[in-house]
Assembly symmetry: C2
Homo-oligomer: 336 residues x 2
C-alpha cells in the first residue's frame, strides 16, 4: 500500500500475477474437485486458493481469485470455460444490433460471489497483507465479447471499432459503467487496491488507443472510490505507456519488453510502476533468475513507488520453488 502511494518502504514489495494458479499443487488439488467457473463462484474455495498462495509464497499482497470475464454474464453474454481451450463465448457481439442487446449491469449483486470471496479472504489473510480486487479493462473485455474467445489478430473487434464508431463507443461505455460498480463493490467488500487488466491492448497503435480506448479506461479509473490505489496494467504496451498514464492509474504495470527505468521515465515519476520480470525467467537457473531480478531492482534504483511483479501472469508449468526463491531474493536484495 505504501509503495502504491510512493512512500518509502523497508524493502520492495512483491506479488505475482496469477500467483494462485495452475503451477501450484494446492490449486490443482482444488481444481480436481470442481470446474474453473464453479471455483470462481464458490467464495470459500476462491478464498482458499487466494490465501494459500499468498501464505505459501510469502508475497506482500494477495489478489482475489476470479476471472476478468465473470462480469460478462450479467451483460447477457453466454460464457463457457471449455476444458483446455480457454473461454468460449456462445453469442459474440458482431454488429450494432448485438451491442443494443447487451444488458446494462444495474445490480452489481449479480457478482455477489466475488464480493463474498473478498470478505472471506480479507478475514483469513494476515492483516498486513493487502488484498487486491480487479477487473478487465473495457478494451480487453470488448475484444473478448466481439471475438468470442481468444484471438490472434482481433479482426472482428477492430472491424467494429473502425466501421461503427457509435456502436463501439456505446459498448465501451456500457462496459465502463459496469466496471465502476463492480470495482467499487469489491472495495466495499474489502479490496484495498484494484487493478485494471488491459491484457490485449497491445494490439493497438497509439492513435487508435487515444480515440477508441482511453476515454473509457479513464472513466473506469475516475469512478473508483477516492483513496483506493489503482494499478493500470497492459502487455505489449511499449508505445502506449504515456497514454495509459494519461488514462489513469496510481501505478502503471510494465511488461518485460521495456526496461523498467525507461518505462518509469515515460510514465512519469509522479506515478508508481509495477513489474517487470519476464515470466519465462522463472524456468531458468536460479543464478539467472537472481541476475534478472537484480537488474530490475537496480533499474528501479530504490525510488519509492516500485511494486515488484512479473511482466505478465505466471505460466502454468512454472516450477513453484523458483517462484518462492524469487520472492525471497527480491526481499533480500532490496532490503540491503
Amino acid at each position: 500500500m505504501k509503495a502504491c502511494r510512493r512512500e518509502p518502504v523497508p524493502y520492495t514489495p512483491i506479488w505475482l500475477m496469477r500467483q494462485a494458479g495452475r503451477y501450484m499443487r494446492e490449486y490443482r488439488e482444488v481444481r480436481a474437485r470442481t470446474t474453473f467457473l464453479e471455483l470462481c463462484k464458490t467464495p470459500s474455495l476462491a478464498a482458499e486458493v487466494t490465501v494459500t498462495a499468498a501464505e505459501r509464497l510469502r508475497v506482500d499482497a494477495a489478489i482475489i481469485f476470479a476471472d476478468i470475464l465473470l462480469i460478462l454474464e450479467p451483460m447477457g453474454i453466454e460464457l463457457e470455460f471449455a476444458q483446455g481451450e480457454g473461454p468460449v463465448i456462445h453469442n459474440p457481439v458482431r454488429h450494432a444490433d448485438d451491442v443494443k442487446r447487451l444488458r446494462e449491469v444495474e445490480d452489481p449483486g449479480a457478482l455477489s460471489f466475488v464480493y463474498e470471496a473478498i470478505s472471506l479472504t480479507r478475514q483469513e489473510l494476515k492483516p498486513d497483507v493487502p488484498l487486491i480486487g480487479f477487473c478487465g479493462a473495457p478494451f480487453t473485455l470488448a475484444s473478448y465479447m466481439i471475438e468470442g474467445g481468444g484471438s490472434k489478430n482481433y479482426v472482428h473487434a477492430k472491424k467494429l471499432m473502425y466501421d461503427d464508431h457509435g456502436a463501439w463507443h456505446a459498448m465501451m461505455s456500457l462496459i465502463a459503467r459496469a466496471l465502476v460498480k463492480y470495482l467499487n463493490a469489491q472495495i466495499d467488500a474489502g479490496a484495498q487496491a484494484v487493478q485494471l487488466f488491459d491484457s490485449w491492448v497491445g494490439c493497438l497503435g497509439p492513435d487508435d488507443y487515444r480515440e477508441f480506448v482511453l476515454p473509457h479506461s479513464r472513466a473506469v479509473m475516475q469512478g473508483v472510490k477516492t483513496g483506493v490505489p489503482v494499478i493500470h496494467f497492459g502487455t505489449g504496451t511499449g508505445a502506449l505507456l504515456e497514454l495509459m498514464r494519461e488514462a489513469g492509474g496510481d501505478v502503471i504495470g510494465l511488461d518485460w519488453r521495456v526496461r523498467l527505468d525507461e518505462g518509469w521515465q515515460r510514465v512519469g515519476h509522479d506515478a508508481g510502476v509495477m513489474g517487470n520480470l519476464d515470466p519465462v525467467t522463472l524456468f531458468a537457473e536460479t543464478d539467472v533468475l537472481r541476475a534478472h531480478a537484480k537488474r530490475i531492482l537496480d533499474q528501479a534504483g530504490g525510488r519509492p513507488g516500485h511494486v515488484f511483479n512479473l511482466g505478465h501472469g505466471i505460466l502454468p508449468e512454472t516450477p513453484v520453488n523458483n517462484v518462492m526463491a524469487l520472492v525471497d531474493m527480491v526481499h533480500e536484495m532490496s532490503s540491503q
Copy 2:
C-alpha cells in the same frame, strides 16, 4: 530502390508483406494443385505467384515467394508444413547436444530452387519493379528450431538462451553464417534488395536483445554485399527500435503499434522506414482505410526514405479489392 536510398521519389512506393498469399484467388488456384513446400521448391510456380501478385496489385516491388524456414532443412532440421497447422519441426533443438548436431550450411546450393525462382521472376517482372529477397533473422529462426513450431511464450527458446549462453551463441552464429551465404546467393540470382524478418523478436526486452540477438543480426547484415539495400523488420518492437537500427539495416520496418513519425525519429532520420498500416484496416470500409493510409503518409511528411507497407503480413481473409484500393490510394495521395 530510391526510397531505400532516401532519395526523392515522385510518389511513395508501396508493396505489402505476403502480397502473394492466400487472400488472392490466383494463389489459391496454384495451391490447390500442390503443397506449400512443393510450391516453394518449384521455381516456375514460385515465380508465377510472385509476378501475378505484383502485376495484379500494381505495387512498386515484388518479394520472392518463399518461406523463412526453408534454410533450416540444410541445417538438418526436419520440417513439415502440416495442413492448416503451420510449420512443424520433428527434431527440435533443445539442448547443447542438439546444437552440436546442426549442420553448417557450406553449400548454399541446397536452396538452388530459391535462386532459380529469383532468376525466373526477375526475367518475368517488369524492369522497373525491383525484386526483394529475404530470410528470417537469427532469433526468429532459432526460436522456431527450438520451439519446434509456433509458440506463445517461447519458454524453450528463452530457457536455452538464459541457461546456456555458449550453446545459444553457437547456434545463432551458425544460423547467421548460413544467412549471409543465402542472402548473397539470392542477390547473385537477381534480388535487388533483401529483407531480414525478425517476426518474433518482440517477445524480448531490450537488455536481452542487446546481449543475445543484436551481434548475430548485425553479422548477417554486415555480410550482405555492399550496395544492396537491407530492410530490417520485426513486430512488437516498440521498445527495440533503437537497438534494431544499431544492429543494422538501411530501412527499418515498423509495425502499426508505433506512430510512424515517432518510430522514424527513434530509428533516426539517417535511415529509411517501412510501414506501418495495421493489416486489419484492410477489412474496414474504404473511407476508414483511406483515413488510416493518409495518417501514415502525413506522419512520413514527404521525407525521402519511406516505403509504404503493412505493419505485418496480409491476413488470409483480406478482401483483395481493398488491397488494390490501398495501392491506388497511396500512389494518388502521395503524388499530390
